[in-house]
């Protein structure tokens, strides 16, 4: 009987080991919103890859002074420890060799083609090919720390910023919505079907009510698009949707398609309005 009580007490201790966080106020990397820069889709820039891949997927192990192979992948350290740095496991290969993804050990480890050791992330799940392609594209573009004019020439055509951003809660209704992209827009393709704004109808969040909008490109910034609702936005939740093939850059690439390969992905921004305009 005493032993049974011991076992019950032990099982109870296991069950009380703790609960996962609800993630309130955090981005996908588990950092406070705005700190990690994880808003918007993954694009071929270091900041985006850091926010979408390294921080949320890699820093569970590759962090701190005991990081495997000395490779810290937190936002502060990762660039300096990746680009142009020889791999520990294969010293003849750089972790990231700018311009050459095939000879970059980071890509080899993610693809499972590295000469030494297991594929990363260790134990899986492994990154899908579209994500690896974005990392390859960043390296092909020169593996810049920040997106520069030179690297922009071949980088993905994707969302760069939005105001309001995805997940924002606005105290008052915005008169206009601003969406900017990583490359210049082909404004000749803009029409009424390019952008959709809809109010989420409560309580069924899957039901939306389309709203009329007008839009125009910003003369001074050919990568930005201004969306103006035809009527004031009432308090509630809204979805701004731009389909993958609704926009194109000056090279004719549709939104969300990388310079290398990948599946087109559109833009979906959800925001809340608390007060009336």
């Amino acid at each position: 009987m005493r032993r049974r009580r011991q076992h019950v007490a032990g099982l109870a201790a296991l069950a009380l080991a703790g609960c996962a966080g609800n993630g309130e106020g955090l981005d996908a990397g588990g950092r406070p919103v705005g700190e990690g820069g994880a808003d918007g889709p993954l694009v071929a820039t270091f900041e985006s890859i850091q926010a979408h891949v390294f921080t949320p997927l890699c820093t569970g192990c590759h962090a701190g002074a005991t990081a495997p192979q000395g490779l810290r992948l937190d936002a502060t350290s990762s660039y300096d420890l990746l680009v142009g740095i020889a791999s520990n496991e294969a010293p003849g290969v750089q972790r990231v060799q700018p311009g050459d993804p095939d000879r970059s050990y980071l890509v080899q480890k993610l693809q499972g083609s590295a000469a030494v050791g297991a594929r990363m992330p260790l134990g899986g799940p492994y990154l899908d090919q579209a994500t690896i392609d974005v990392i390859r594209q960043w390296i092909t573009d020169g593996a810049a720390r920040t997106a520069s004019a030179g690297s922009v020439a071949t980088q993905s055509f994707a969302l760069a910023q939005a105001s309001p951003a995805n997940g924002d809660t606005l105290p008052t209704a915005p008169r206009q919505l601003l969406v900017s992209f990583t490359r210049d827009l082909d404004t000749t393709r803009l029409d009424a079907s390019s952008v959709h704004l809809a109010q989420v109808v409560e309580p069924d969040a899957s039901t939306t009510r389309p709203l009329g909008v007008s839009m125009h490109a910003v003369v001074a910034n050919p990568r930005a698009l201004v969306v103006t609702p035809r009527s004031a936005l009432a308090p509630g939740r809204y979805v701004l949707q731009i389909d993958a093939h609704a926009l194109a850059d000056l090279d004719g690439r549709p939104l969300g398609v990388n310079a290398g390969a990948g599946t087109p992905s559109g833009v979906r921004i959800v925001f809340d309005v608390e007060g009336a305009q």
């Binding site: 032993r3 011991q6 076992h7 032990g10 099982l11 296991l14 069950a15 080991a17 703790g18 609960c19 996962a20 966080g21 609800n22 993630g23 309130e24 106020g25 955090l26 981005d27 996908a28 990397g29 588990g30 950092r31 406070p32 949320p56 997927l57 820093t59 569970g60 192990c61 962090a63 701190g64 002074a65 005991t66 990081a67 495997p68 192979q69 000395g70 810290r72 937190d74 936002a75 502060t76 350290s77 420890l81 740095i85 020889a86 520990n88 496991e89 010293p91 590295a114 000469a115 030494v116 050791g117 297991a118 594929r119 992330p121 260790l122 134990g123 899986g124 799940p125 492994y126 899908d128």
Partner: protein, 363 residues
Amino acid sequence: MKIGGRSCCWVLLLWALAGAQHASAEPYLAVQQGYKCGQCHVNPTGGGLRNDFGAVFTQNVLPAHAFPGDAPAWTGKLGDVVRLGGDLRETWTRIDVPDQDTQDGWDLQELRVYGALEPIRDRLYLVVDEALAPGNAQTREAYARYADPARGWYAKAGRFYVPFGWRLEDDGAFVRAVSGINMTAPDDGVELGLELSSWSLQLALTNGAANAGTGSGSQVVAQSVWTQTRGRLGLSAAYTDAEAGARSMAALFGGLRTGPVAWLGEVDYIRDEGFPEGTRTLTTALAEMDWAWRKGHNLKLTAEYFDPDHDVDEDQKTRWSAVYEYTPMPFVQLRAGFRRHDGIPQNDFDNRDVAFFEVHGFF
């Protein structure tokens, strides 16, 4: 070599000394039996190559069905000086991540061979642990150890696994992955140890994993373990100095045996420097139950907890596992399990489910 009447008596004696009707594998086995790690392994801090006792144990106590008494026995020794061992794990894994395609398939998780030379019996050891797969061969451990069995001390120099907390088979456990001290991350340096009847003490001075390659810095690790027949209690501390920021860690770990059930627990407290906001404090914890309900069978349940930053609310992760281990005969173990990860809903990766089946061969 045949097992004769004397050998059978020896095996039975070992079993009787072990004081157990049931047995299973790895750290919880030591708790169930009241052993120190060095009881079954050449390395006093455990893991890797097994010694004479470990070889006999894995063939006669661990499996559901031992080989017939007249079958050849394997002690790991080739002559008086050379000892060999190995592990192979072929694993089928299915990983379900929300909103992503399911990944599944077979992988050669590891093929490792161990070798040791013992030019001066019970005193001088030269040990190599080589990971042959996946990928090209990689030296995990290569060290020389000199021991004074009469006084209990030893000194080790070379590449080895640093002593810190439970040395688990599951390198993905939060306490091992986050601490960065596990069986995928050996370190170079020296280790001094003292093995007394109830106490094991280690002090290691190494480079620190973050300083591998071109980095500069150092790591000091100290560990003490108090072992009794019913359980044990251990305390580890580590400080790693690195250019990108220092890390301080402490681990409190222990084990308790209640009949056929062994309980393991560990709590790690980690402070990391080198972040824009200054220092981050992390906590990981493990609670494990191993129920060896029948010879050759073990049910392992684990609950794990990870708080990546004490200053950030609602970012905690948990990991729950149920693993069944069946050792039908010597040298072969079958493992099947399910792991449930829970994390913040924004991160699909942290909410994945993993099912696996593993064939583990060892000698």
